[in-house]
């Protein structure tokens, strides 16, 4: 079964790199450029895991995660936070909002895949 990943990031560079890495690893990749787009996509698409940036316009990653969890449909959907922060703050904030784990940018492809496999079957 092909796993579907929703990637949410306002940087086209990061989206492109995620798509490349994930597609090569056999994932099906959906893209959204901010939290709102991500939420909208989740209304119509079922995905196995979400990777989201924190700093985004319109709706940031924290708000996005909160909304996903509050929607009542996606409590068991693993959500990974993409973060360049070396500090704990953002991770804690993301976790408090309902984030499952995090990926530190820049990611190397192998680690990205392995982190995904940490949170998804």
């Amino acid at each position: 079964m092909t796993l579907r990943v929703l990637t949410v990031d306002d940087s086209r560079t990061i989206l492109a790199m995620l798509r490349h890495t994930l597609s090569n690893a056999g994932f099906e990749v959906l893209q959204a450029e901010d939290g709102q787009q991500g939420l909208d996509l989740l209304k119509s698409e079922s995905v196995d895991v979400v990777i989201t940036d924190i700093n985004m316009p319109v709706m940031d990653g924290i708000e996005f995660i909160r909304n996903v969890r509050a929607s009542g449909q996606h409590q068991s959907l693993p959500i990974l936070i993409l973060t360049t922060e070396t500090s704990q703050d953002k991770r804690e904030e993301g976790k408090a909002a309902g984030g499952t784990g995090w990926i530190v940018k820049p990611f190397d492809p192998e680690k990205l895949i392995s982190v995904i496999h940490r949170v998804v079957h």
Partner: protein, 731 residues
């Protein structure tokens, strides 16, 4: 292009957008709009630039952006006040980021200490505040940006990394060993979609596992809380090479969402898979009877154990089972996805290929039309109609394709407010900038070439045009000078106008300098307009010293040559004491030109249609000789210089004088010139081919083109033809 190059191209594209956004945001911030949205947007822009830079290993850029980003973060949460000084520093930092990006793009190295001063100031600002707050100090940036992630050792024999040793507790040596792990998830662990099975699977990658579920007091069904956690696990891990740090990393995501106890059982009995229940050593928290009694489970049995637990948790409400019908019910399965996406990104190369092919199509189409002589026209009316439709469609296609390349001038204009601000600062003058017509669209290539000339012109206005506040007051003008930057479309051209309300060009001085430098012959008496135009002459600069504003060692001639390069022209007009207006006339597109085809001698020449005012038969024109030997003609009371193209290009004309034509052209600033040609052939569109690129620069010729019949025709440079004549008359 490799994939990495593709990503880089995307990244640099994105960077230039982000840098433009930064300029815009800071222009507003500088104007006093310091709301949270702007600060967030600025932070995001730098954050994105840094994020991508990290991915490509542009460590200098990452390092600088990190310090900048940290400061912005502090600014937006109020820890650092956004004073004017900080704004100025940020604006300077945008330049540095931009230079770093440019250096990363070209691979050129910047000086090692480039931007270090600003970086240090960022760090000092951030540190200063953090110290006062007693908050955590800003961490020293790790240039390697090593992700803190566990090596899962997917091949199964996860070697512990030496680096991990430093994090270990004293009891967990690097040597081989057996571990007892007690893992009790809290309900939050499930609420965040973590899955114990996956954690245990990951743990299994470190070594051999024995796992026992500890089923706590499961209440009667009536009291059963579906969101409560009733299960924990006792794990024995036989992993000779692992460390406590590696084990903790497995539980990295769930730290705080579970109780985890890790105990090392002394030196390793490597490879010996010992049932944990059989010989459990004494442990500090060995109060749980279930540990002894529970049978050990295989990994697959464990999975079976876990599955019901998960179902009982809040993580799996029924809704999740059928997400698709739910989505269908919301009725926006398609709309939700497609909404908001109204543009696509296309490689510029691809667009250019289309542009070129359309150009060729235009040529072919005009060739076909030319082939239709009167006899054919009479005979094949259907074909003629078809050709007319083809011509129309081709024209429409061409316009549409050109529209793809067009971009609003806003991207260039948006860089100017801060330039003016800097200029005002450095000159001590008070200057405000007004921009008009930012949404006017021009060909992308033209836009890219516009930044430098425009910068130069605005510098010139600020430096030489606008007077000091004292002088302005003295002259009865408002203290603050105004530079107006506007863009508008005028026919087939775009006009970019830089206007100031300063003192105007000091013509005496300009003429003096021009004479001193030999730009103008000592005895020549150029008109005011010609004097104004002299500021664009090569090697001309009236600045007493090379100021670091307008100067940079080059004069306004650079503006002229840059603009000429993109097929445009510059005209300056000045009113003493009132101000100066510089007008850039740019072609809408670079690729295709509407021209009039004329004959000079036996050769076809083309004259850009946009510069032609009218055509007159020579028999009706009244030429007059002037003492210098040239010719002029009178057009509605105005004397116009006459240039015989045959003579100018040293060709012999066999046509009778009376049968020749005058093509009256308008050059810059409504200055007219009358070109005498042998015949007028007709109008058409041509694709411009650069003469400089394919041959060499020729005065009076703007380029070449291939006509429908395959012949080459040269494009007459109306302005260029006129210029040497001015010098001649002045000499």
């Amino acid at each position: 292009m490799s994939e990495l190059d593709d990503f880089k191209a995307t990244y640099f594209d994105e960077c230039s957008e982000l840098l433009t956004e930064l300029e815009e945001q800071f222009a507003a911030i500088e104007a006093g709009e310091r709301d949270a949205n702007r600060l967030n947007a600025v932070f995001r822009a730098i954050h994105s630039i840094k994020g991508g830079a990290g991915a490509f290993g542009f460590s200098d850029l990452v390092g600088f952006a990190h310090a900048y980003e940290t400061l912005l973060d502090y600014v937006r949460d109020g820890r650092v006040e956004l004073t004017d000084d900080v704004v100025t520093l940020c604006i300077r930092a945008n330049d540095i980021v931009s230079d770093h990006v440019a250096a990363a793009r070209t691979g050129e190295a910047l000086p090692a200490d480039y931007g270090q001063e600003e970086k240090a100031r960022f760090e000092a600002l951030a540190r200063g505040e953090a110290a006062e707050d007693d908050g955590p100090p800003i961490e020293e940036f790790d240039i390697e940006f090593t992700p803190v992630m566990v090596d899962l050792g997917l091949d199964g024999d996860a070697p512990a990394e030496d680096d991990d040793c430093f994090e270990e507790s004293p009891m967990a040596g690097c040597e081989a060993g057996q571990w007892e792990i007690r893992f009790t998830p809290h309900r939050e662990l499930y609420a965040r979609a973590n899955d114990p099975l996956l954690l245990l699977r990951e743990l299994a990658a470190l070594g051999t596992l024995q796992i026992k579920p500890v089923i706590g007091d499961i209440p009667h069904l009536a009291e059963f809380d579906p969101f409560a956690v009733y299960c924990s696990w006792e794990i024995t891990l036989n992993a000779p090479n692992t460390t406590e740090a590696s084990i903790r990393e497995v539980f990295e995501f769930v730290e705080g969402d579970c109780d985890i106890a890790i105990v090392q059982l002394g030196a390793g009995t490597a490879g010996e898979a010992r049932p944990a229940g059989e010989n459990a050593p004494a442990r500090e928290d060995d109060e749980d009877d279930a540990f002894e009694e529970a049978p050990s489970l295989s990994f697959s049995e464990l999975a079976a154990t876990i599955t019901p637990t998960r179902v009982a948790t809040p993580s799996a409400p029924p809704a999740v089972v059928a997400p698709k019908p739910m989505a269908a019910a919301t009725g926006e399965s398609e709309d939700g996805r497609g909404g908001g996406v109204q543009s696509i990104r296309v490689d510029l190369d691809k667009v250019d290929r289309v542009v070129n092919m359309v150009g060729e199509l235009v040529i072919t189409q005009s060739m076909l039309t030319q082939q239709m002589d009167e006899t054919l026209r009479a005979r094949y009316t259907e074909l003629v109609r078809g050709l007319e439709v083809l011509a129309q469609t081709t024209r429409g296609l061409q316009d549409s394709v050109m529209a793809i390349r067009a971009q609003p001038v806003k991207s260039v204009f948006s860089r100017m407010p801060r330039l003016v601000r800097e200029l005002a600062q450095k000159t001590g003058k008070k200057i405000k900038l007004e921009t008009i017509g930012e949404s006017t669209e021009i060909d992308k290539t033209v836009i890219e070439q516009l930044s430098d000339p425009l910068t130069h012109m605005i510098r010139n206005s600020a430096d030489h045009g606008i007077e000091s506040p004292e002088l302005r007051l003295q002259r009865g003008k408002p203290e603050t000078g105004t530079i107006r930057l506007s863009a508008e479309q005028a026919g087939g051209n775009i006009l970019i106008i830089v206007e100031d309300d300063g003192g105007g060009i000091n013509r005496e001085r300009v003429l003096q300098v021009a004479r001193d430098k030999g730009v103008v012959a000592p005895d020549a008496t150029p008109t005011d307009e010609q004097i104004d135009q002299l500021i664009f002459a090569p090697g001309f600069s009236t600045a007493d010293k090379v100021s670091d504003l307008s100067g940079r060692g080059v004069g306004m001639d650079v503006v002229l040559s840059n603009i000429k390069k993109i097929g445009g022209s510059v005209h300056v007009r000045s009113w003493t004491g009132k101000g100066t207006r510089m007008t850039l006339r740019l072609p809408l597109t670079l690729a295709v030109l509407d021209v009039m085809l004329v004959k000079v001698g036996i050769n076809p020449y083309v004259v850009p249609l946009s510069s032609i005012v009218e055509t007159i038969q020579c028999s009706r024109a009244a030429f007059e000789r002037v003492p210098s030997g040239g010719q002029v003609m009178q057009v509605r009371g105005e004397y116009v210089q006459v240039i015989d193209l045959a003579a100018r290009f040293s060709l012999t004309s066999d046509t009778d004088e009376g049968n020749r034509f005058v093509v009256l052209c308008e050059g810059e600033g409504a200055t007219k010139v009358a070109l005498v040609v042998d015949d007028i052939i007709g109008q058409q569109q041509v694709v411009i081919k650069s003469l400089e690129e394919n041959f060499e620069r020729v005065d009076g010729i703007a380029g070449g083109t291939i006509l429908g019949d395959g012949n080459v025709a040269l494009i007459v440079d109306v302005q260029g033809l006129r210029t040497p004549a001015v010098h001649k008359s002045a000499a």
